[in-house]
Every structure is written in C-alpha cells, then in structure tokens.
C-alpha cells in the first residue's frame, strides 16, 4: 500500500474492541483513541452482543476467548447483520498468525486478521485499508 493512500486519523470512527485481557484491551483502546476513534471496549462475547449496533464500523476481537470465542461470535454477527453494508468490519486480533488461524478467520467470515500487539503505524494502515476495501488478508 502506498503511503499517500493511508488515512492518518479516523475522527469519530466507532470501533468495538473485544478482549478478555484487560491490559491488551486497554492498549488497543489507547491506540485507537490516539488515532481519533470512538472506542467501546468489552471483555466477553455476551457483553459484545449487548452493545453491537449498526453505528459500529469496525470490530477488533481477540479470537481466543473463554466461552463463545471470536470465531463463533463472527458467525453470530453474520446472522445478526444479513446485509453486508450494515455489518461492521470484523478483524481478528491474535498473538499467533499462522496459516491455520488465517484460514479459520476467513472461514467464519472475518474481514482480516492482525498480530497483536499492533504498532501505531500498523493500525493506521489497517484501518485505512479496511475502510477503503472492507477486507484485509495479507499474503502469508
């Protein structure tokens, strides 16, 4: 991606961060707030399903969660939002990107997967790419 196509700030972009780890959740939130986003954080899938709405444009979710994991949740989000333009863009956050993880994410209809922790520059380019193309699966 060329640098001059990368949006540098995302004022008011409504984002949900789902992660059961408080530190990871706070760091991801801090990062997104720094980029201008309006961030809601949740620590479980149950909490997520209570807050998600059409206003939210991007969801960053840890796929390894107790109870309903990120993969199952992605499937439920597809059931809830049948029209693609109403559904938020879904991005998996994981500590380990391998071919299996990527395939699992694609299978359940996630729009992208990124390795955490995420740098400021990386998050900026991820958001820019997602908002432009609604998909982010980098070559592995």
């Amino acid at each position: 991606m060329q640098a001059n196509h990368v949006q540098t700030n995302f004022p008011g972009l409504k984002v949900i961060v789902m992660d059961d780890d408080g530190v990871s959740r706070s760091v991801t939130k801090g990062l997104l707030v720094h980029l201008g986003c309006d961030v809601t954080t949740v620590s479980s899938s149950d909490e997520f399903l209570q807050v998600i709405s059409q206003e939210h444009k991007v969801v960053f979710m840890d796929v390894c969660m107790p109870g309903i994991d990120g993969y199952e949740l992605a499937a439920r989000i597809h059931e809830k939002f049948t029209k693609r333009h109403e559904r938020p863009v879904l991005v998996a956050l994981t500590g380990n990107i391998n071919k299996m993880t990527k395939e699992s994410c694609m299978r359940v209809g996630m729009d992208g997967v990124i390795l955490k922790p995420v740098s400021v520059d990386k998050m900026r380019s991820v958001l820019s790419e997602l908002l432009e193309h609604r998909v982010l699966f980098e070559a592995m």
């Binding site: 059961d20 780890d21 408080g22 530190v23 990871s24 706070s26 760091v27 801090g30 990062l31 707030v33 720094h34 390894c64 500590g95 955490k116 922790p117 740098s119 400021v120």
Partner: protein, 150 residues
Amino acid sequence: MERTHMRRQVGLMRQSLFTQGFLDEQFIQLEELQDDANPNFVEEIATLYYCDSSKSLQTIEQALEKTPHDFNKLDNHMHQFKGSSSSIGAKKVKDECQQFREYCKAGNREGCMRTFQLLKKEHATLKKKLEAYFQMARQAGPLETASRPK
C-alpha cells in the same frame, strides 16, 4: 540544572531498560500514545499489568501445585499471560512465557516449574525497575518543560 541532571538520569535509566533486554519496541509504541490527553498512559498500563499479572501468576502457581499437571490448562493460562506481557513490551518476561509454553507442549513438568521460577524473577525485577523509572520520571517533570527556552 538539577532538573536537567534528573532528566538525563531518567533518559539513561530508560535506555538501560532496553539495552539490558527488559523492554522491547512495544514499550516505545506505548510511549507514542502518551499525549496531553493521556499524559500518564504508560504508567497506567504498567500499573494495570502488574495488578492483573499478579493474579495470573497466582493462578498459574496453583495450577502447577496440582498433580498431575494439566498442561493444556497451564498453556492456556500462560498464553494469556504472554499476551499481556507482550502488550507492555516486557521482553524477558515474554521470553520466559514462551519457554514455559514449549515445556507445556512437551509435557515437561520439571521444565515448567523451573521456567516459572525464572519468569517470576523477571516479572519482579522489571516491576522494581519500572517503579523506579516512573518515580524518577515524575520527579524530573515532563519533557516539554525541559525543552522550554530559558
């Protein structure tokens, strides 16, 4: 002059945390998120980490005391602990987490026990160093003050 000296000490202290391998690039990423709206972001995250991670270590310790070891459960606990340690750039802690997970995968009880002790040591060492660093940084004052013209 005193403040300048203190700031220099803070800078040297910070540098040593990286050169001695305690912290990695992720800590710098956290520092980039610190601004006027969040002037204490890094210290807040570190405080949260030490609060949460103490409980995590207790959980892992209890799981290690049970026999036989449930290596899957231990690995899951450590996966999460490694994640939060990575989030603050705690390099040595993260490396011990990874080693622990390797021993879990191998079903190596002795390796897990030994690595866990090393992990606790690194975790405690970093805590002391960060506490000292943040305390000195607070005393030295914000960098903007240092760059203010005379």
